[in-house]
Amino acid sequence: MEATEAMTVIGADGGSNGYDPGLSKEELLYCYRTMLLVRAFDDTCMKLQRSGRIGFSIPNLGVEGMQVGAATALRKDDWIFPCYRNFGMALYHGVKPVEMMHNMYGNAQDSARGRQMPVHFSFVDPIHWVSISSPIGTHIPQAVGAARAFQVRGEDRVALTTFGDGGTSSLGFHSGLNFAGVWKAPVVFLCQNNGYAISCSSEKQTASESYAIKGKAYGVPGVKVDGNDLLAVRRAVCEAVDKARAGDGPTLIEAETFRMGGHSTSDDPTRYVPKELVEKWAAKDPVDRFERYLGKRGIWKQGDRERIYGECMQEVADAAKVAQSTDAPGLETIFSDVYAELPEHLRRQGRAAFDLAARRGDAAAGGGAFPL
């Protein structure tokens, strides 16, 4: 496998080539449903953001296929070091929309206690989904370190890390791939090349022929795959995962896809994305493509999308309702989890905060909005 043409499995007409994995009907429909669940989550969040209920969200339109395809390649005991535009992988592995909604609202039930921005999920169950942090690329060497721990203990588990095209310019990309190459660590680097890093197009991001070819700098094989082809992504990631489990080291996968919306709910991409590009990629929509494939396999019929999407919307709406009626985190959550044990100075600061609130009333919520 080398970094040249993007690998595909599903053709434009929905037919598949020799690499069709022959998944069961249940599995295929689960994949399909998961993509629609991502859309339902996105659509709901967009509305919630527009109506001021949440501050921010990250849309996934156009990139759901690569997320779900990649997720299918992992076991529950593998670890994911994700970037933000990849949470379909969490949904695939059984994270409940309501858990994600708690984070979107930053409420008391949020696993991060409302400390993080929306979409910065953290889960240990049903799969290790390592707490997302905003600084781009820092998690890449961390994935390599976690993979090294698997290696040291002789476990056949892998760490998969995802990042965007912009993420390849980060320091973490450079050090992570380099260390992984030297260590032959069981890690899979999955680059979601969606054409833009906020407003920066790939031509301004790098002059390299492709993102996959960047593996050459580290002795890490690079593979390019059609990111809108769920089964092709599955294939590439499965091969990389198998290789990693077998002790044959890391792989860099570039999933070529396109961010069909803005960078976030606050971004206006029409300022910088040419319309023709959006149109070109709209024709390659990963859900449409997968649907055609399901149709060919005889397990999809007209109306299925609306029905399933409706179910997903209901599930997400229910989740949002629960999250919205959940209390905000308590004042004490500002001070906990800084250290394993609360140190004396934080105990004092916490007491002072409670005391002040008692004497002078609560702080007034601010009015600022996230710009991006």
Partner: protein
């Protein structure tokens, strides 16, 4: 004079100096056609072309590293770091390189450049879009660190920073980007670096603050005035090099001091103000030197308004030092 928001004043400052000096170039992530995520660089690419205002790859190390090389070699780069929280990949370039270049080369090479970056809370940005890292940089000899709190100062200090022969970190209080407006002179003018600004004079308590904490301090001062406490409010605005004499004067004036910043308390910038006072004018102090700061924790999201010093907390401290 135009009535501008703080971010408009920044934009005006950039455009003004770019018109004046062709060696000034502006770059960073999304500063080009998009105009920056806060629109601080809006229309600059349109007016000055892609050679003078452009987007870079996603690497703060690269942004600052290349800026240093440009600065050495005759340009006047103004680099934007999208959020101050993302400056840390460039920490080495700033602290080891830009700040030390003149010193280590005996003045043969210098780095006259500006790093602009929005800092601070108030936009529900959580841990990584809210931090106030000034203390990290103020502990770095060779750098200058500037934080404006008004549109007038934002433009004047920015132009002064760009014309300065040394590297300047210019931190913009994002909470004030659109929430304050003020008269801003047209054309080129500068506000001296290393002078503080007395926002209001008072004889009972001195409050030192900067950036987004200035309006907070002023609100608290207004409340204090209702109780007959006269608050002397000082906007430090150039944090490094600091007008230490001015700080000591203002502290002596009342003998009761409160220092306010958003960043965590421990080893924060406020500790230096306290230390200067304790070292030089302790005998004039009639009360403990109180700090009102962010807590010694990362910056939370949902509860950010509890984390950031507000009128309540500043007023409380003013009352405490006043009644001590």
């Amino acid at each position: 004079m135009a009535n501008l928001t703080l971010v408009q004043a920044v934009n005006d400052g950039l455009a003004t100096v770019m018109r004046d000096d062709p060696s000034v170039i502006v770059f960073g992530e999304d500063v080009g056609p998009k105009g920056g995520v806060f629109l601080a660089t809006e229309n600059l690419t349109k007016e000055f072309g892609e050679q003078r205002c452009f987007d870079t790859p996603l690497s703060e190390d690269g942004i600052i590293g290349t800026a240093i090389g440009m600065a050495m070699n005759g340009l006047r780069p103004v680099a934007e770091i999208q959020f101050q929280d993302f400056i840390f990949p460039a920490f080495d370039q700033i602290v080891s390189e830009a700040a030390k270049l003149r010193y280590r080369s005996g003045g043969q090479y210098t780095a006259p450049m500006v790093i602009r970056t929005p800092y601070g809370g108030g936009i529900r940005g959580g841990l990584y879009h809210s931090q106030s890292g000034e203390a990290y940089f103020c502990h770095t000899p060779g750098l200058k660190v500037v934080i404006p709190s008004t549109p007038h100062d934002a433009k004047g200090l920015l132009i002064a920073a760009i014309q300065d022969p040394d590297p300047v970190l210019f931190m913009e209080p994002k909470a004030l980007y659109r929430s304050v407006k003020g008269e801003v002179p047209e054309g080129l003018y500068t506000v001296d670096l290393s002078t503080l600004r007395t926002v209001q004079a008072g004889d009972d308590v001195t409050v030192f603050c900067y950036g987004a904490m200035v309006p907070v301090a002023m609100k608290a001062a207004a409340k204090a005035a209702e109780q007959g406490i006269g608050v002397h409010v000082v906007d430090l605005r150039t944090l490094l090099p600091l007008d230490e004499e001015g700080v000591l004067e203002a502290a002596k004036r009342t003998g009761r001091v409160v220092v306010v910043h958003e960043a965590p308390r421990f080893c924060g910038y406020g500790s230096e103000i306290s230390a200067l006072i304790a070292e030089n004018v302790i005998e004039y102090m009639e009360a403990p030197v109180k700090r009102v700061t962010g807590f010694d924790t990362p910056f939370p999201n949902t509860l950010e308004h509890h984390y950031m010093p507000d009128e309540r907390r500043v007023l409380d401290a003013i009352e405490q030092v006043h009644s001590f």
